[in-house]
């Protein structure tokens, strides 16, 4: 069973803010799903290679050359807040260093 502290830690890693109710609900539901996933431990996979990707594709390279790109105004067109050619965000530096 996931503890409330574990749920809070995962929420922090995922940059989510959860209500007390959500924390309890997710603790129960995630525990049930993880318990369901325990079934995998019945299998011996000691000598089985992992499959991260299904196609036999290795690194894909291309020539490094200048080509068409998204113009600035289009790239900024969905910005919640902008200033000149920049995305604007709330304060990053607190007194004494980076926040968070």
């Amino acid at each position: 069973m996931l503890t409330k502290e574990q749920v809070e830690h995962v929420a922090l890693l995922a940059r989510l803010e959860l209500s007390e109710e959500e924390k309890e609900k997710y603790a129960t539901q995630l525990s049930a799903i993880l318990e369901y996933a325990e079934a995998l431990n019945k299998l011996d996979t000691e000598n089985v290679p992992p499959t991260a990707h299904i196609l036999p594709i290795n690194n894909v390279f291309r020539e490094d050359r200048v080509c068409d790109h998204l113009p600035n105004e289009k790239a900024l067109s969905n910005a919640p807040e902008k200033e000149g050619n920049y995305f604007r965000v709330p304060r990053i530096l607190a007194d004494g260093g980076i926040e968070g």
Partner: protein, 486 residues
């Protein structure tokens, strides 16, 4: 004859014969949308002006005596997780409810190039996470065969729009069954192509090693036509496969004598609706009558597919959805005074419950101390699942199974129980893990609800799927049935 009920290949003939115009076809589709979408709720955005302009352009071309392509002037609906330049692309999420992409997905560009007439964008479970289209942040889509029931998901809007004749065909995406399960529930043809054959560029990413775009159509011939139009290598997608896209129409002969079909025992589990079982038994008999050889086979690791899927898909999702931070685009909380609070609040308010549940699960599975136990273990079992298919395809051309253990379930029935909801995908997810192609083809009805037959093939074996599906479809005719929405 209502034009909106016809297939693309039938309409193409009529356009060539100057019996109808693209404007008439497009107007017929919008008329149907105006009549029934209030009930079905398949569409989140309509693109009426763009569509009519496009249709007029095609008609001018025909009037000038120019030749037109197979999909030219034919209406299409696009799932709202594929970027359409200048047209809202919301993923049915509050996070992207105001997102107007500055570029189009490769599939959209290809269809535009082919002269397709986009009439709208369809509803989905938020970020394609769900099996019922009830997780949309806007509204739930209904099943045209029974408005009290779900259309399946996550591409429920695209499936319902085709079933209700609100479009001629549509595109969906399939990460664990999101094309095939709604195709089955809505009684239309759906294809999840081989991984890497259709570019994912411009598809909003959910689980990148599993996601694949594919068509919904009213018959197998249309499905093959649309697949051919959207498939092919794309330098903008680094996981895109290099292969030649054949002309599949040559394989639509109806002759499948000697085709070897394997039927995996693991796909006939307890809890399967007896009606589904008898529909599948009937399909097997039909294939035998047509000269195919059907045998029972085994895919022994099937029971592990669901837990593998829910670890891998959520891990990939937690990474892919990290980009939604309220900075470049998407929803931003305006109350936060520092950036970390802004990230957290934007994400917590922008994402719905199921999306957050999956981000949480995926983040946990990837977190330090648990990576080997969950994520790496799941990747290894994925290898075993793929090897099951490799072995089966040494002997069989096609593997046949149900799409889902039940027909469409009632709205609200499973929303509060994630595991019950996940179980509806139990027969479809192995295909994504193995990267192989699979189709859903209508194979009967239970109490007025459609049942879908799943045909799975070797990697790049779409041709043989179309061949088998076409022979089955033409000799049974289930695809011709239409829901009554009057």
């Amino acid at each position: 004859m209502k034009l909106n009920t016809l297939t693309a290949h039938e309409l193409h003939e009529k356009l060539l014969g100057k019996e109808v115009s693209s404007v008439e076809i497009t107007e017929a589709v919008f008329k149907r949308i105006d009549e029934v979408d209030e009930k079905v709720r398949a569409l989140v955005t309509l693109t009426r002006d763009i569509a009519m302009d496009r249709a007029r352009g095609v008609d001018d071309k025909i009037a000038r005596g120019e030749s037109i392509g197979l999909l030219e002037g034919i209406p299409v609906v696009i799932k709202d997780n594929m970027c359409t330049e200048g047209v809202l692309t919301t993923c049915s999420s509050k996070m992207l409810s105001n997102f107007v992409p500055p570029y189009s997905a490769t599939v959209v560009r290809k269809l535009n190039h082919a002269g397709a007439v986009m009439v709208g964008k369809s509803n989905l479970d938020e970020f394609a996470m769900g099996s019922s289209t009830e997780n949309s942040r806007f509204f739930a889509t209904r099943n045209p065969w029974d408005l009290e029931r779900v259309p399946g998901g996550s591409s429920g809007g695209s499936a319902a729009a085709v079933a209700a004749d609100e479009t001629i065909y549509s595109l969906g995406s399939d990460t664990g069954g999101s094309i095939r399960q709604p195709a089955s529930f809505c009684g239309v043809v759906g294809l999840k192509p081989t991984y890497g054959t259709v570019s994912r560029y411009g598809l909003v990413a959910f689980a990148s090693s599993l996601d694949q775009i594919g068509p919904f159509a009213k018959d197998v011939e249309d499905c093959a036509l649309v697949y051919r139009a959207i498939a092919g290598h794309d330098p903008m997608d680094s996981t895109s496969a290099r292969f030649e896209v054949p002309d599949y129409t040559a394989s639509l002969t109806g002759d499948i004598k000697g085709l070897k079909i394997g039927i995996p025992a693991e796909y006939f589990i307890e809890g399967t609706d007896p009606g589904v079982r008898s529909a599948i038994d009937g399909a097997v008999k039909k294939f035998e009558e047509l000269g195919a050889v059907c045998e029972e086979t085994s895919l022994p690791h099937t029971e592990y597919a669901l837990p593998v899927y829910y670890l891998l898909a959520t891990a990939e999702a937690s990474s892919n959805l990290a980009r939604y931070d309220g900075v470049g685009y998407g929803y931003r909380d305006e109350t936060a005074e520092d950036i970390v609070t802004m990230y957290k609040r934007s994400r917590s308010e922008g994402f719905g419950e199921e999306v957050k549940r999956r981000i949480m699960l995926g983040t946990y599975a990837l977190s330090s101390g648990y990576y080997d136990a969950y994520y790496l273990k799941a990747l290894k079992v994925r290898t075993l699942i793929k090897q099951d298919f490799d072995r089966a395809f040494e002997k069989y051309d096609i593997i046949l199974s149900p799409i889902s253990p039940t027909p469409a379930f009632k709205c609200g029935e499973k929303v509060d129980d994630p595991i019950q909801m996940y179980l509806t995908d139990i027969f479809t997810i192995s295909v994504n893990l193995a990267g192989i192609p699979a189709m859903s083809v209508p194979c009967g009805f239970i109490g007025g609800l459609p049942v879908g037959l799943q045909l799975m093939g070797r990697p790049f074996g779409e041709g043989i799927l179309f061949k088998a599906a076409y022979a089955f479809e033409q000799s049974t005719g289930y695809y011709k049935a239409k829901p009554n929405l009057e």
